[in-house]
Amino acid sequence: MKRSSKRHYFLLLFAAILVILPLLLLFLWSVSAKWMYPAVFPQVFAGSVYQQMLNEPNFWPAVLNSLLIAFAVTIVTIIIALPAARYFAFQKRLSHRLVEIMIYLPLILPAIAIITSSQVLFLQLHLTGTFFGMILIHTYLCLPYAMQILLESYRNLGEGYSLTAQTLGADSWSIFWQITWPLLRPGITTSAMLVFIVSCSQYLPTFFIGGGKIVTLPLLLLPYANNGRFGLASSYSLIFLGCTMLGVFILKLMIGGIQRGTKH
């Protein structure tokens, strides 16, 4: 068995290298002032690309908008997903498959179709270009991710604890805060982190529903990537990754980590 596990190990290592290599490239591009074809390494290392990026007037607004919208969307999504996941986890009438479909519908229906079609209504309701509109459409797109994780979490938790708490005389709020929330925290943290990342990464909704007034990082990033300006695009990419890591880190602190007695 040892020989084959070594082979497996190297295969996995190879896969991991394939994952990391492009990221390294990204980093190199972002710190190169001059990297012409056919040089394999950047000719001039400098932070000038970052300087350029910071000078872009929309940079700080984009960062702020991305983070703010993502945080708001995360909170709204979790608030909607928690009770819904609890209902779906313990109800007995609908089949698992049906519940799956209901949850994944926003992922099945083409995003561009939904966004462009609902844009008309958004316009009529004066929701385009507003934060409220953005949060609305982002939440729609992020709910499936949260629901999937929280549904699984609730199923793993089971009803036993909350039923026991109920028979011991606790009311609904107490049951949630003292029993459900502490035991669900790892799942809630994971889904919050995922929703945050997905919201940060959205391009189409911000483009169509943002009405040109709201700028986020992906909106700035796409044109640079499209124009082949690798240096600038890479630096934006790394800033983007840094922002998501920051947001995820803050969320983890806020919601909390592993509780004793929970299964992960």
Partner: protein, 284 residues
């Protein structure tokens, strides 16, 4: 149970509101009722145009090709990767493998350009090694008609996703079943098809639906890495919607509904197949 039903209302409200808003307006305008530009005759001409126009047909066909190829390869390779992850327990490797899941498609497309583009790093290596003498000789993998770059982007993102998802199921799999099968003399291949596959088949089909629909309707990746003469549906829709000329809107909405229809049909077919195959009906 009425108290419990309240829990799911916000969820239904939000999803319902967005989907119905899109559906309502979509159907209305695509059927020809668009007072904003003076159209108020209901007819199916827009749909006829969309479905009969060779440009649209090509667009739909190309998107289907990309989606099917990327999804099948992702499922296959993802499953293999899952088995690797099952056997090798190194946590660092696991973490690295799941990185692509949190990377946005735009960034992955950018990385692909930097890797396999004609001015990308591999091309530069080839040049240095003397295998090509000029940029144009390097194999065209992005902006190409086969969509190689596009498919690679989706593979980079989706193989880890499939691997991580099926890994969770595989870990829960009762290893007892496999032991018993082996004791009774079954070969590994047999064990895979008769024991393991039915257990993960439902997940695989769900993954298929999600990945197919997502790839089919993807915008950012074909936008960045696509070939101008081979548009995907999302790009076609995007073009139609960003034109100042509003008379193309009804067609655009018809295209939206056709797109959605295709996704729903594929989902339905996949679900039916999954139900028929062993393991498709819930036993507990």
């Amino acid at each position: 149970m009425n108290k419990k039903r309240v829990l799911v209302i916000p969820f239904l409200l939000l999803n319902g509101a967005v989907i119905l808003a899109a559906l309502f307006k979509g159907i209305q305008i695509s059927l020809g009722y668009y007072p904003l530009i003076g159209l108020n005759k209901i007819s199916l001409t827009n749909y006829q145009q969309v479905l009969n126009d060779p440009f649209f047909q090509k667009s739909l066909g190309y998107s289907c090709y990309l989606a099917l190829t990327a999804t099948f390869l992702s499922l296959l390779l993802g499953l293999l990767l899952a088995f690797l992850l099952l056997k090798v327990k190194n946590p660092w490797l696991h973490k690295i493998i799941s990185l692509p899941i949190s990377l946005p498609h735009i960034i992955v497309a950018l990385m692909m350009m930097q890797m396999i583009g004609q001015t990308g790093i591999i091309s530069r290596f080839f040049f240095q090694l003397g295998w090509i003498q000029e940029v144009g000789q390097f194999l065209l993998m992005i902006h190409d008609s086969g969509g190689v770059g596009i498919i690679l982007v989706f593979l980079y993102k989706e193989i880890p996703y499939v691997a991580v998802t099926t890994l969770a199921i595989l870990q829960q799999l009762q290893l007892g079943y496999i032991e018993v099968a082996r004791n009774l003399g079954a070969s590994s291949v047999r064990i895979f098809f008769a024991v393991i596959l039915p257990m993960i088949q439902k997940t695989l089909f769900t993954l298929f639906i999600i990945l197919f629909c997502f790839t089919f309707a993807s915008f950012e990746v074909p936008y960045l890495l696509g070939n101008p003469s081979n548009q995907t549906v999302a790009l076609t829709a995007y073009d139609l919607f960003t034109q100042a000329d509003l008379t193309t809107r009804p067609q655009a909405f018809a295209l939206n509904l056709v797109m959605s229809g295709i996704c729903l049909v594929v989902a339905a077919v996949a679900l039916v197949i999954s139900r028929i195959l062993p393991g498709g009906r819930k036993t507990s």
